[in-house]
Amino acid sequence: MDFSSFSTLTFLATVMAAATPIMFAAIGELVVEKSGVLNLGVEGMMIFGAVCGFIAAVSTDSPTIGFIAAAVGGAGISFLFVILTQYLKANQVASGLALTLFGLGLSALMGHSYTGIKPPSSAKLSVDGLSDLPIVGRLIFGHDAMIYLAIFLILAVWYFLKYTRGGLILRAVGENHDAAHALGYRVTRVRTLAILFGGACAGLGGAYLSLVRVPQWTEGMTAGSGWIALAIVVFASWKPLRILLGAYLFGGVSILQLNLQAMGADIPVAYLSMAPYLVTILVLVIMSADRKRASLNAPASLGRAFHASS
């Protein structure tokens, strides 16, 4: 193997970039699940966001508009899930799968004529002086704005859930929707908002892939990131700050295997490419094994349909 090309600093910076799409998607899904809804359509919303963001950014030559379009697109497609599960009382698992299959198809259709184009590049945040600091400068400053937004979003969700009235109501709805209804809270409305937020976040995550990380549009480019985001929510035990940890862990594994590939490790590429998925499974197993803890942290109404009896 050839280690000469390896630099810890570059490695950490790429890990942060690799973790960002999943961070967005996972923090969005965490809010959705905290409200008691299991939306398995993350992958579909993500890829739809990726294509919306890409098209908007290319046509306006502005990555910012691209990201806005991605968030709107993600929320828009998640509204289909809202209609199915909140108003038509459809099964959440099936509806989530439908959303994923539909999102994959629709994005492929929309992105059909956009393959092979380069999107406008996103500006790196650079603070004079600070970014040039050794190590710290590279690590903390000098990333694109979305990396900071992802971290900010996680902190914001953490604060929202822990310290605000809105967060309390959201958790209450996810914990016991019948009781929340009896106290006069609008279960369906709270959940609708949560699902739309989750959709917008997934859309941002997808656009980060197509506009920054890759950056170009290819069919099915999310390659399971949405599903991994779902697993990271379990890994995080529904605690926002742990999403950060989970996403970096996952980003680390993906970048490590890519580096090993690049350095010509003695393992066939295909086996290395399995690593992120196998690690995800491993993490799921470890976090779910303690049933007592798992059932204590998971929102008690997760995945159960709500129909007001009165």
Binding site: A172, S295, A300, S310
Partner: protein, 499 residues
């Protein structure tokens, strides 16, 4: 006395049933008013209308002299109505303070709220620790959370829906003291219950509902249990009778049963030891959440234990599956009907297959024999007077009482050696309850052993030969039921005396 709340001609219909039919009555200022009626009489719908959860089809309400038509609970609370729910509207994974904040429209900051909680709970003798998780509280403590949540808003009218169903007799006494204190401060209380002696002890006036209609109004303090019951049911009730039998050999013996609970808020069973003999009805009392569900699943076989800890007719069955136990003569009926003892969206005939397939030989090589299954379902429906068009309707379309008769009937027609039932008459109307109790007694008279787990002390006193109490996962030593007073049982229920 001036009226605080007046209801006039309130009507609310659901498809196929009129829940409230032209209901009119009033509640005076500072009055404790009872709303009395059976399950399904329309009490819940009525209070939901007052609390803004249900909008009546027609009729008017006047509250403190103003027209009153709350379209949601927030409006009702703002007007001065507070409610304590029967199935507590609490969130287990949240703290006491968070739970209370959720029931208020403009809660103060957490620190101030905690201070006020301690203040109010001190004043009314309802000790609470604001930072504890509700999931870790006992039923009595949970009720305190609900009451404090109401009191913090200085309500003019406090609605209490079946507040004592999970309390020990001592806790009921304490609750009554609190309610009288609230009354002395000028608030009115609408007290809903089907427990007659409580209403007679507490309330000054009672309105009786039957099948959605007001059928009478009285001063419960001058009535008897019997006269109230007849007003409520509209028919004379026979007390279940037991023919004397000499008790036979032990059918079931538990020897130091231990079971760790998987549920974070569950209860572990500790050293449960008892015997039931042929012809005996063993009543197991206790407040909900003290190990009843766990004991039930250990007996039914849903949870396996060490083989020697459970002995049925001389065989160690701790490891046997529920189906194997049925074949050996142990049949059971858990508390929750829809989703545990019955499958909600399966026909009654299909529900027969749940427990009778093997024992009643309703199949050959695994293939279901339809005609005998249908016959068995029809036999249950007939023998237990289950009110249903036929055996093809779904279980969930039956009323609570009818479904419970079906579930109990399904087991009893299979002639068990031992029948274990949890909450046999919970949420069941009085006539169905009487039918079920009578059937349990007849089963015992025929020489089978019966274990009745129940939170209804009156029921246990009525049908048990011996009585034991579950508290904190421990079972007191079974004693002759006739020798026990409700006070003694209450002490056992609170776990304050060692078994």
């Amino acid at each position: 006395m001036t009226n605080l709340l007046t209801l006039h001609g309130l009507t609310k219909a659901y498809p196929g049933v009129v829940a409230n039919d032209d209901v009119s009555f009033d509640i005076g200022e500072g009055e404790i008013h009872a709303l009395l009626g059976e399950n399904g009489a329309g009490k819940s719908t009525l209070v939901k209308a007052i609390y803004g959860l249900v909008q009546p089809d027609s009729g008017t309400m006047t509250f403190r002299g103003q027209p009153f038509a709350p379209s949601n609970p927030n409006e009702a609370r703002a007007a001065g109505v507070a409610m304590v729910f029967q199935h507590f509207s609490l969130f287990e994974a949240m703290s006491v303070a968070e739970n209370i904040a959720l029931g208020m429209d403009n809660p103060p900051k957490t620190a101030d709220l905690s201070k006020r909680i301690i203040e109010v709970s001190g004043k009314y003798g309802l000790q609470l620790e604001p930072s504890r998780l509700v999931g870790n509280l006992s039923a009595g403590e949970r009720q305190r959370v609900e009451i404090v949540r109401c009191l913090l808003q200085n309500p003019k009218l406090l609605i209490m829906d079946e507040p004592t169903s999970v309390l020990t007799p001592q806790e009921v006494e304490r609750l009554f003291k609190t309610l009288r204190q609230i009354q002395s401060e000028g608030a009115s209380i609408l007290y809903i219950s089907h427990k007659l002696h409580e209403i007679r002890a507490l309330c000054e006036r009672a309105t009786v509902l039957r099948l959605g209609k007001v059928v009478g109004s009285c001063d419960p303090r001058v009535e008897t249990n019997k006269s109230l019951a007849e007003m409520m049911v509209g028919a004379k009730l026979a007390t279940p009778k037991k023919t004397e039998v000499t008790l036979g050999e032990p059918v079931l013996e538990l020897d130091g049963l231990n079971l760790k609970s998987d549920d974070p808020f569950g209860v572990s069973l500790k050293e449960i030891t008892f015997k039931v003999r042929a012809g005996e009805v063993l009543g197991i009392g206790g407040v909900a959440g003290n190990g009843q569900d766990e004991l039930m699943s250990a007996l039914s076989g849903e949870v396996r234990v060490d083989p020697q800890q459970i002995c049925l007719n001389g065989a160690f069955i701790g490891r046997e599956s529920p189906s194997r136990r049925r074949e050996m003569g142990l049949l059971s009926a858990p508390e929750e009907r829809l989703g545990h003892s019955a499958a909600p969206t399966m026909s009654l005939a299909d529900n027969i297959l749940m427990t009778a397939f093997d024992r009643q030989r309703l199949g050959r090589r695994g293939f279901i024999k339809r005609p005998p299954t249908t016959h068995f379902a029809q036999a249950v429906i007939e023998a237990f007077d289950v009110r249903t068009p036929n055996e093809t309707v779904h279980a969930k379309s039956l009323s609570g009482g009818n479904l419970q008769k079906f579930v109990v009937g399904r087991e009893l027609l299979q002639k068990p050696d031992l029948f274990v039932v949890n909450q046999p008459t919970w949420g069941v109307d009085a006539l169905a309850a009487a039918t079920i109790r009578q059937a349990l007694l007849e089963l015992a008279s025929s020489g089978a052993a019966v274990i009745v787990i129940s939170q209804d002390l009156d029921e246990l006193m009525e049908i048990s030969d011996t009585l034991a109490v579950l508290a904190g996962g421990r079972l007191s030593a079974p004693q002759n039921a006739a020798d026990l007073t409700p006070e003694e049982i209450g002490l056992l229920m609170s776990g304050e005396v060692a078994a």
